[in-house]
């Protein structure tokens, strides 16, 4: 299933070509910094799709991570714990027909075919920064719909405070689910105000194309100010609840993976520092930004909270 480009996307909203194609300028500045160690990022192949979308929160030197890296370097344990495995093991994963259930404290619960679930919303292309909890990062041109759209349509009850997400459970198709590396199926959750934030996306594509299976097809969560594992993949269920939902990594190791998991350079993972990150394709590490560079938009959601405690 291909979700088309929205008709209202003006060409002016597409990232100027110079931003991502003009590597030379970037290389010059990188070379100046790295002196003798002039470093070239992995090259984008000519036949690969070009990034499309409106940049959100990109820093001056942020350019989209090449298609090949975005689609072959994946943490998707349902298809293997090695980052190259999802691209190899998910090729036959069946994403159509796909049904999504909305339940819990919702005025309008229901079961939808993916197409019907998406249809009422305008699909947008947005380029976001992506920060993995393992201290690497990318810049990814997502295609998707605001999660807020879906939530508003479900009419959550006033008592609903959270939305929980569940991945498909299908050990036959997802061989990783036959291993005990996580408590399957994968689950995630957001506070309702986080879920309603305009930056929070349900992605159905990347690089202007339908989401490849290894990236969480057919529909996945993208919360750009949180560590990547919050972006639950291959979603089959949204549940509105008044209790903080249980999440997969938090269940696995609560002291390492909190419910919030906002990107925060000042709060280390117990086993490694989060102060810096390696952008895929770059040699020198770069500093990690509070809320992954989206502090202006989202810091107010956490006003008054102790972010060291609520990691």
């Amino acid at each position: 299933m291909l979700i088309g480009r929205p008709k209202d996307l003006k060409s002016s909203e597409i990232t100027p070509e110079s931003l991502y194609v003009n590597r030379r300028e970037w290389l010059t500045s990188a070379a100046a910094g790295a002196a003798a160690l002039s470093v070239f990022g992995p090259a984008a192949q000519a036949q690969d799709p070009q990034p499309v979308g409106k940049p959100f929160g990109l820093q001056r030197d942020d350019k989209p991570t090449p298609w090949q890296d975005v689609t072959t370097y994946n943490n998707f344990y349902e298809f293997g714990t090695d980052k190259a495995e999802p691209a190899q093991n998910a090729t036959k994963f069946k994403t159509s027909p796909w049904t999504i259930t909305v339940d819990g404290m919702a005025g309008k619960p229901g079961k939808y075919l993916l197409e019907d679930f998406i249809k009422p919303s305008t699909v947008e292309d947005r380029i976001y920064r992506h920060r993995c909890v393992e201290a690497w990062s990318m810049v990814i041109p997502w295609r998707g719909i605001p999660l807020a759209d879906v939530i508003k349509r479900a009419e959550p009850m006033a008592s609903a405070k959270y939305v929980a997400f569940t991945t498909l459970m299908d050990p036959k198709q997802m061989p990783g689910q036959q291993l005990g590396v996580l408590d399957w199926p994968y689950t995630e959750g957001l506070r309702l105000d986080e879920a309603l934030h305009p930056l929070t996306l349900l992605a159905t594509g990347v690089y202007g194309r339908t989401l490849p299976n290894q990236n969480g097809a057919p529909i996945r969560l993208v919360v750009p100010w949180k560590y990547g594992f919050k972006g639950i993949k291959s979603i089959v269920k949204l549940t509105f609840t008044d209790k903080q939902p249980k999440t997969a990594w938090n269940t696995q190791r609560a002291e390492e993976y909190g419910f919030y998991s906002n990107v925060n350079p000042a709060v280390d993972h117990p086993r490694w520092s989060q102060a810096k990150e390696r952008r895929i394709g770059e040699f020198l590490k770069r500093p990690t930004l509070p809320f992954n560079g989206y502090a202006d938009q989202v810091a107010s959601l956490y006003a008054g909270m102790d972010l060291k405690k609520n990691y």
């Binding site: 992995p42 291993l179 280390d268 590490k285």
Partner: protein, 208 residues
């Protein structure tokens, strides 16, 4: 089986292959933008060299059982080669960590060593191999005397344990890699324990 011709030279060449590959791939990925080691070559290269350190430790510790079980006594003289390669791969693993991963950031290095026990444990495992590498020459063996030298080289068991613990503590949730090494080392240790007990019971009646 008798020793194949030029076994020593072939062993050295074969042992160099992963290192040459890793260093070439790292240089190519970083400088030329290839993806021989994937999208995150520094992390991959670091892990690759770390796993080869453990593999060479396994091979080193497999020499004695193989020699005794198969009667390949000629293997004994190649144990030093394997042990020195284990040390060399450990040093390369450590160098990639310091130079390319931490990128000589002293703050990060100090906090890593203090706050991340697995870094400390891995470093200790490597450090314990240093005296073994230094005393690996014929001259040093003669100077130490066989008994003392043997006792010192028991440190290799500690290195193996620390190496596996280091690997185990570093993974997120998939323990298949470290647990495989744990099982192999446990088998190699168990063989020695069994041999040692067998020898002890054989000697005991003679003494009484």
């Amino acid at each position: 089986m008798r020793e194949p011709r030029r076994f020593g030279a072939a062993l050295v060449l074969a042992s160099l292959v992963p290192a040459v590959y890793a260093l070439f791939a790292l240089a190519s990925d970083i400088l030329r933008g290839t993806r021989l080691l994937g999208s995150n070559p520094i992390k991959e290269g670091e892990h690759f060299l770390g796993e080869w350190t453990l593999r060479f430790l396994v091979l080193t510790l497999a020499v004695t059982p193989l020699r005794q079980i198969l009667g390949w006594n000629w293997l004994a003289k190649h144990r030093r080669t394997l042990g020195l390669f284990a040390f060399a791969y450990g040093v390369m693993h450590w160098l990639v960590y310091i130079l390319l991963d931490v990128q000589l950031d002293l703050d990060e290095l100090v906090t890593d060593v203090i706050k991340r026990p697995y870094i400390l444990i891995g470093s200790l495992g490597l450090l314990l191999m240093l005296p073994l590498a230094i005393t690996s020459t014929k001259k040093m063996i003669a100077r130490f005397g066989g008994k003392r030298w043997n006792r010192l080289h028991k440190l290799v068991y500690a290195s193996a344990v620390l190496g596996v613990v280091h690997f185990w503590m570093s993974v997120k949730s998939d323990i298949s890699g470290p647990s495989t090494f744990a099982v192999i080392f446990a088998a190699l240790f168990a063989y020695r324990l069994w041999k040692w007990r067998e020898n002890a019971t054989r000697i005991a009646p003679a003494r009484s």
